[in-house]
Subunit: 465 residues, 2 copies
């Protein structure tokens, strides 16, 4: 394969990188076979095995101080290489080795934990989010140490096993270990670029609030033939309540939700209009019948720069084959919000609960429980590390990256940014259609190999920044 | 125990009945231990075991022509005793040996298939619906045959294993076997009375329509951070659609739904007002925070005489522990309607689909699939068999039964009534708080024993009617 149009590196390193691809793929596949689903208690040992696999890999390539740090939840993996000398910057690489659940399993073309290459893509849960993207950085360090015995920068790896469940342990660890983690910049490759040929640096990620709504009616499940029509069905009440979380214009209808949201400046709207993404690509990637959303905004603005509210899950009553004429005692929903800067993430849960309780009839009771919340992250565009990142992308892809605010959330990024006082470089190698959190998650392999090269180029560019 | 205030039977029969109670309870418990859940394929063999148990019991007490009749689904059990002589009426006793699923299992105080007596109640899935109520009739026949070797009437038992899944096999069997099943009256004990001391004859049952609503959006599950706010979430669309199935006055909002519904006559409203049931009892039995329903009607009218629509189940997206920021490809709901006479049950599914498709935005697709439908049943109050039933209740309970229309549906009743041209006697022994289709289903044991006596009294009264 010859995907590096520009010869970015020394002939020796180039040769190494081309020859290493099969073993890089083999190792990633090996790691992906470990079903490290952090949300499911039955996978606890698998999560630990995935941590151990990574620690073993880090040790084998010559990293120092490799540690599997136990926590109340899943372990944190730490490793460093600090021999670049005084004056050389220190890069903190963050990633996560846990993965999302796989349901609905029947929609996977190949089993989620049996990595399968089809065309240029590697299909497996965690291929893109985030094992593949993290391993690219490990492989970048490996390549330099193997060919030169040296790195141009000091490197620290901080890898958690709880990203998909709220980063509980790391949220406490980072502020408590600011000495150990001290760095000049933090690199996070847990995002996507625009297309296989067009890199993207994300300078803003939305915050998140996630919680669970419970509607309670009768004290136990009832026979709908004997009580239907005279008792308010919690499923029905839940639908009526959730239907009122948005208005007809696609706006979130919770009072106060937009109070702290700043209007988009015309400058920012112009910048976002430059992002080569629109209705057509959205429809192609999602397979949705039509575009939807808050009136008065483009899809790029809706996804990247406006707050949203989603019903990620709901359930109540009988959900098996056939039917059961029941009125359930309770109905449930998982709701999450994506938040823009200035929105206080801690206020969202109480705000939603207040609203739902206010509009709920006295025939049911409503409760909202917060599962996680974190504010949005924004990185200034003019810091030198950001420019170094842009040059690294340009060297490998042959085109300059575009800059964008994105819809996703990486709550731990805000904590790292604030605790360690470092800029965050969100430099991903994933693609928008990688099916994160969905069946048939994949990693585009040419971008995996490019990601390794970008990792190397970034270390070099940070020295000259 | 001495629950029969009036001595209804000969001293010999009285003695037999009092002595037989422990073995009657033991046998019912034995039958209840077989988890004959007809909706779940993994219980197919249990359903067959429950049929075999009943057939064995019928043979042992001296019934003739005991047959386990295979069907495309679960078997039908038939038995008869036809030696009462010409001129004696023939009674067809209908019942079912299949039971509802048990979820949510964790809400059961004792395991659903380990019958447990607490106080005067026997707790087990199927205790009231319908094994206990059916076995009362078998025990009634057993008592007469054991003490006198004779019955005053001819008896046929017709027992199915698919009542909880739509009576598919029996729906075809009854019209095809009108000779075999020919009778003068059909008795169904699959209903409840008002209280342990107040019998009730139901002269009308509502019809039913049950179906599944599917809302489809994107072609697969999406990451809500990457697509949220720009793609219509099928969960959200489902809630908005289901919320519009009722209006603010608690009426079903589907156009045409009430077109064939007759107004309640003042005479009927007066009769229903006599039923000693109201808001207070409804709240006590259901544990609901408040009464709900169609404005302008009492709870007795809402449950018994008005059509209703219920969301029996709904599900979509992630429903596990923690959270997953997903936009699901599909959302689902189980919906059912209770129908009053004159409402054409076959029209309901298309009517709901038409309405939902009309109000659905073009951002999603909606489909409604019918699972089952059957019209309502009404029995004239003035037929002699109805009066015989009333006398039988009065002899055993010491008070006259009240007559009521009820909310539930027994679709096969309509088919029996029409195919065999017989009146249906809905004479139950269950109670409104028996937790049918819910955790902690129970049978009030004094009523089980009274039910056996009512079964005997009914055979005697039918001769003199």
């Amino acid at each position: 394969m010859n995907r590096n149009e520009t010869s970015a590196f020394s002939p020796e390193l180039e040769t190494y990188l081309q020859e290493a691809e099969p073993s890089q793929l083999k190792e990633l596949s090996e790691w992906l076979r470990i079903p490290s689903v952090s949300t499911l208690p039955e996978h606890k040992e698998d999560v630990e095995r995935a941590a151990a696999w990574l620690a073993q890999k880090m040790t084998s390539i010559g990293l120092d101080n490799v540690q599997i740090i136990p926590t109340g939840g899943h372990p944190i993996v730490y490793a460093d290489w600090l021999h670049a000398g005084t004056g050389a910057p220190t890069v903190l690489v963050y990633g996560h080795y846990d993965v999302q659940p796989v349901d609905p399993l029947e929609m996977w073309t190949s089993p989620p934990f049996e990595p399968a290459v089809r065309g240029d893509d590697l299909f497996a849960r965690g291929a893109s989010d985030d094992k593949g993207q993290l391993l690219a950085h490990v492989a970048a360090v490996e390549a330099l140490l193997a060919t030169s015995g040296n790195l141009p920068v000091n490197v620290k790896f901080l890898v958690e096993g709880e990203e998909e469940v709220g980063s509980g342990a790391l949220t406490a660890f980072v502020p408590a270990e600011t000495g150990k983690l001290a760095a000049d910049v933090c690199v996070i490759s847990d995002t996507h670029i625009l297309s296989p040929e067009q890199p993207l640096i994300i300078y803003g990620l939305r915050g998140v609030w996630a919680g669970e709504v419970t509607v309670r009616g009768p004290s136990q499940d009832l026979h709908s033939g004997m009580f239907g029509g005279a008792v308010h069905n919690p499923n029905q009440a839940m639908c009526a309540l959730l239907a009122r979380l948005h208005d007809d214009a696609g706006r979130v209808a919770v009072p106060g939700f937009y109070d702290d949201v700043q209007s988009l400046s015309s400058q920012e709207r112009e910048a976002l209009a430059q992002v080569p993404y629109g209705d057509e690509q959205l429809l192609r990637e999602s397979g949705a019948p039509a575009v939807w959303g808050e009136q008065g905004y483009t899809v790029t603005e809706r996804i990247g720069a406006r707050p949203t509210l989603e019903i990620n899950g709901m359930w109540g009553g009988f959900v098996g084959e056939g039917f059961k004429t029941v009125i359930p005692a309770e109905a449930h929903a998982k709701v999450s919000c994506r938040l823009v800067p200035e929105q206080p993430s801690s206020a969202i849960g109480p705000m939603i609960e207040r609203y739902l309780q206010q509009i709920a009839p006295d025939t049911v009771e409503v409760e909202v429980r917060t599962l996680q919340h974190a504010p949005a992250t924004v990185v200034p565009l003019d810091v030198p590390e950001m420019q170094a990142g842009a040059r690294a992308y340009a060297r490998i892809f042959g085109v300059n990256p575009v800059f964008s605010r994105e819809g996703g959330s990486i709550p731990i990024a805000t904590i790292v940014q604030e605790s360690l006082n470092v800029p965050i470089l969100f430099m991903g190698f994933g693609l928008p259609d990688d099916n994160l959190h969905a069946p048939n998650e994949k990693l585009h392999l040419p971008n995996f190999y490019r990601g390794i090269r970008v990792g190397i180029a970034l270390m070099e560019e940070l020295v000259s920044s």
